[in-house]
């Protein structure tokens, strides 16, 4: 079984995933997923609904425990993602993680303190500028549209200058301009050595930022592509049409 699954390896990986399996009763969400991620790259995780993309990211972030297999973040294997690793990850999930009754600034401050960010007020302003929500800092989150909330959520993920970003459909609800901004942001982030793991339904968006890709179907790695042109070729070859942005 394992031998038939494509495995992508690289030198000096920042993350090694080995034989990762997650079952919910008899339902298999992930089956023997193995790959490793080099620093400074952007891995695009694609696949149809229910392929296990979200489960994979949740396990990597430490929100869900795997049934079997190991993860090594930054060269150390562990069962449960430890505090030191969590401090270096920036995560965006399907939920905003924001308290709707607090203002944008209050939410960001709260997370800045949880992540022990130095000079929180300066940093909060910085990330707000990054996603262009400075004008909204004193608005309650409840009053913002989903797209604006998503931008705040992205700012939240950048707050503590993480080494790795785990982004589960970060482009949800973003308009074309914000999406463009996010793309530029991720490019700049990677130029500074940051690593990105990303899922998206909008392949075109993914193609613009990804350096390599991993295709999941029913919990298994079906194919991997190691450079952007290959990613593009593989994706356009797929039966499923590229989702229009």
């Amino acid at each position: 079984m394992t031998s038939s699954t494509p495995v992508l390896r690289c030198d000096d990986p920042i993350l090694i995933v080995d034989g990762l399996t997650k079952r919910y009763g008899w339902k298999t969400a992930l089956s023997e997923v193995s790959f490793s991620v080099a620093p400074g790259t952007c891995l695009l995780i694609v696949g149809p609904n229910g392929a296990g993309k979200t489960t994979l990211l949740r396990i990597l972030a430490g929100l869900t425990r795997p049934t079997a297999g190991t993860i090594s973040w930054f060269g150390r294997a562990h069962q449960v993602v430890p505090v030191e690793v969590r401090a270096r990850l920036g995560v965006v999930t399907h939920r905003t993680m924001l308290d709707p009754d607090l203002t944008v600034a209050e939410n960001l401050f709260y997370y800045a303190r949880l992540y022990r960010v130095a000079e929180p007020s300066v940093r909060v302003r910085e990330v707000a500028e990054l996603v262009d929500v400075v004008g909204l800092l004193h608005e309650r989150v409840r009053q913002l549209s989903r797209g604006l909330q998503q931008r705040v959520t992205l700012a939240r993920a950048f707050l503590h200058r993480p080494d790795v970003l785990l982004l589960d459909e970060p482009d949800t609800g973003l308009d074309r301009a914000s999406r463009e901004r996010l793309r530029a942001l991720l490019d700049r982030y990677r130029e500074r050595g940051g690593t990105v793991l990303l899922t998206t339904h909008a392949y075109e968006f993914g193609l613009e930022v990804a350096t390599w890709a991993l295709y999941l179907d029913r919990g298994r790695v079906v194919w991997t592509a190691a450079d952007p042109t290959q990613v593009r070729a593989q994706l356009t070859e797929m039966d499923s049409p590229v989702v229009p942005v």
Partner: protein, 231 residues
């Protein structure tokens, strides 16, 4: 193959032994043991009541130990053992409550009394119920196993406290007549019957626990197979 058949026959011996012992103890309860001087024939329930009560609490102790081991090691063995002991414990707790109630009717003149030990056992029954609900309502069995282990630990630690609080609250249960420093205060025939019944219950319990454990193992294997074929 040889290993499997020897395992089966070993279990069959245990099953046969428990059958013979239970039959023997039933015979002794009704034919050998004398009727109690004050309580009459109803007292014969005691032979059933006491071992059941002990095993109800022993089961929770097994859950407690398995839960700790499961949280430390994460091996399926401990999870299955806890699951098996919980089911048996629930059955024996129900048995204690029923026999206690039937016994209490002629002796105390009421089906139920808020006596300390009876009340603690009733609460134990509810804790077992919560344990099953927890396992049933958490859809991911792995997570359910972890949470059930936490409940197994917290619940076991709570039982003596519950008992203490209920005892301070009120009590009218007959004082212990079996375990006493100057020796048990009952006729020899009664004591022998009691001991035989206790041994019979323990052997039966072991037999049921192993059978139940095997069922749980098969259930896990089926789940595994289903997971593999579903892909």
């Amino acid at each position: 193959m040889a290993k499997r058949s020897s395992g089966l026959s070993w279990l069959a011996v245990l099953g046969g032994a428990s059958f013979v012992l239970v039959a023997l103890s039933v015979a002794m309860i009704f034919l050998y043991a004398p009727a109690d001087a004050t309580q009459g024939d109803v007292q014969r329930l005691f032979y059933l009541h006491l071992p059941a009560a002990w095993l109800a609490y022993v089961s929770f102790f097994i859950i407690f130990v398995s839960s700790i081991a499961f949280l430390l090691r994460g091996t399926p063995f401990w999870n299955r053992l806890a699951r098996s002991a919980a089911e048996l414990g629930f059955i024996f707790t129900t048995l204690v409550l029923l026999t206690g109630s039937i016994w209490g009717r002629p002796i105390w003149g009421t089906w139920w009394t808020w006596d300390a030990r009876l009340t603690t056992t009733l609460i134990l029954w509810f804790i077992y119920l919560g344990y099953f609900l927890l396992r049933a309502y958490i859809t991911d069995p792995e997570r359910g196993a972890r949470y059930a282990a936490v409940l197994g630990i917290v619940g076991f630690v709570d039982i003596p406290i519950i008992h203490m609080s209920v005892r301070w609250w009120r009590t009218l249960h007959p004082q212990p007549i079996v375990v006493r420093s100057e020796g048990p205060n009952m006729p020899t025939e009664m004591l022998v019957t009691m001991l035989v019944t206790l041994v019979a219950f323990i052997v039966l319990y072991l037999f049921l626990l192993i059978v139940k454990y095997r069922i749980e193992t098969v259930r896990d294997a089926v789940l595994e197979l289903r997971a593999e074929t579903a892909n």
